[in-house]
Amino acid sequence: MAFGTTSSQHKSKKRSQSAAFFIFRLLSFSVVAILIVILGFILIQGISVISWDFLTEMPREGMTAGGIYPAIIGTLCLVAGSMIFAFPIGILSGIYINEYAKDSWFKRFIKLMTNNLAGVPSIVFGLFGMTLFVNQFGFGDSILAGSLTLGLLALPVVIRTTEEALKSIDDSFRIGSLALGATKWQTTSRVVLPMAFPNIITGLILSIGRVSGETAPILFTVAAYFLPKLPNSIFDQVMALPYHLYVISTSGTNIEASRAMAYGTAFVLIMIVLLANLLANWLRRYFGKKVKMN
């Protein structure tokens, strides 16, 4: 075969490549199509329900009319509560794993446990939260119990995010700081953490999006079926958006009549996730540009 001529073998090689690549491209874009269908369907059906009243009124008439105000407030309380718990512990834990722990069986054990906790199904968190926080600690069905359960669920995500962010910081910065007589904590807090901050914050925002949509962990720790008032303390029960959506789409008093309410609730849930993702992407780009400028 002379170099440069096109053999039939070459042709079939090329054909199989284009066929394969075409299929891959098609399947990849079908993933995008799935997302567009889901988002599009819920956003289109939901947008007509959304109004100022829907967002700020109590549910009425067996949750077939009115708004979802208490569920929005409830979810806000739960997200805030879980993050107050999960952020500090998760970040410190990530610092421990990446900065402090020596390479020993103990570190491997902690990493293994963190990985395993990340794989524990959310309903098991619900069972655990109910026995430990609701019953054992006597918090009852409350914001406190729900927040702690959600916080534990978010912990592995926060830890992993922190760990990854810290890992990407070059060791030369740590060594440079230590060589100037800085202590380990000074090095971590003044040099390493500020550098890792953009990545950590991006991960945290994404985890907020996740936590706000979790249902199973709050089923038996806080969520109220119908409670048209706002909480007064962290020992109160609240309604929550994801549970509310579950209730009115499967077991409400009149499922057909509350369908519009369900679309509206799903819309709000999607918007929270969408905004969290957009914000995270924007931050990534913003910080990315800043780094490039340097």
Binding site: F173, I175, L178, L180, G181
Partner: protein, 250 residues
């Protein structure tokens, strides 16, 4: 007078015997250069002087290392105090992602200095000493990353000088720099030895010849020969030193 003195220092990375009984003394206000082929232990040895090897898991050190007469591996020595006393400049410039000013002030701040005026004066003086002041005096608030590689390295030197160490360790400080920046740095080393004891690790024998008063040649974890730089380069006593200098291995 000896600034750094070591007696029979052995260092192990796990099972690997990296330094084999090194005894030597480095004089105050002199430049001592460590040369030798890669992996000969010269950098490892240098890092013993400010206990940077502590950061690596599985390192074991035997023998005595005295800096200004104090045994630095004694238990009552605070390692961060030691590092304040023994500054270090690295192979690759590693300024922090902070402003030029904050980079130099960092060492002062972490050591508890709060006096603003004092910090400003010290930063200016250190930048002067590092021959960088004129180039950066108008952009102290700018990010250190905006400086060129050579400027960054001099910034790192200024950063080390700001905490007034008595010994300055330099680990191949010019290997990542262009020839012009290298020349500037070497000139700087010359000026600095008036006030500091300098120990420099270098791959570049010409550099050792240009900047140092004494030179030590390391090979396979051993100190083969240690003498006045001129003597070592012109009249080496050991065959291995001669082979290295004449380029027969390395």
């Amino acid at each position: 007078m000896n600034s750094v003195e070591t007696k029979d220092v052995h260092l192990y990375y796990g099972d690997f015997h990296a330094l084999k009984g090194i005894t030597m003394a480095m004089k105050k206000n002199q430049v001592t250069a460590f040369i030798g082929p890669s992996g000969c232990g010269k950098s490892t040895y240098l890092r013993c002087f400010n206990r940077m090897n502590d950061l690596i898991d599985g390192v074991r050190i035997e023998g005595d290392i005295l800096i200004d007469g104090v045994d630095i591996y004694k238990t009552n020595i605070q390692v961060d105090d030691l590092r304040k006393h023994v500054g270090m400049v690295f192979q690759k410039p590693n300024p922090f992602p902070k402003s030029i000013f904050e980079n130099v002030a960092y060492g002062l701040r972490v050591n508890g200095t709060k006096d603003k005026k004092f910090i400003e004066e010290r930063v200016e003086r250190s930048l002067h000493q590092a021959a960088l002041w004129d180039e950066v005096k108008d952009k102290l608030k700018k990010s250190a990353f905006e400086l060129s590689g050579g400027q960054q390295q001099r910034l790192c030197i200024a950063r080390a000088l700001a905490i007034e160490p008595s010994v300055l360790l330099m680990d191949e400080p010019t290997s990542a720099l262009d020839p012009l920046s290298t020349a500037k740095t070497e000139e700087l080393i010359h000026q600095l030895k008036e006030n500091y004891t300098i120990v420099i690790v270098t791959h570049n024998m010409q550099q050792a010849g240009r900047v140092s008063d004494h030179t030590a040649f390391f090979y396979l974890g051993e100190l083969v020969e240690y003498a006045k730089t001129k003597t070592l380069f012109t009249n080496p006593k050991d065959q291995r030193t001669q082979n290295y200098i004449t380029g027969r291995f390395g």
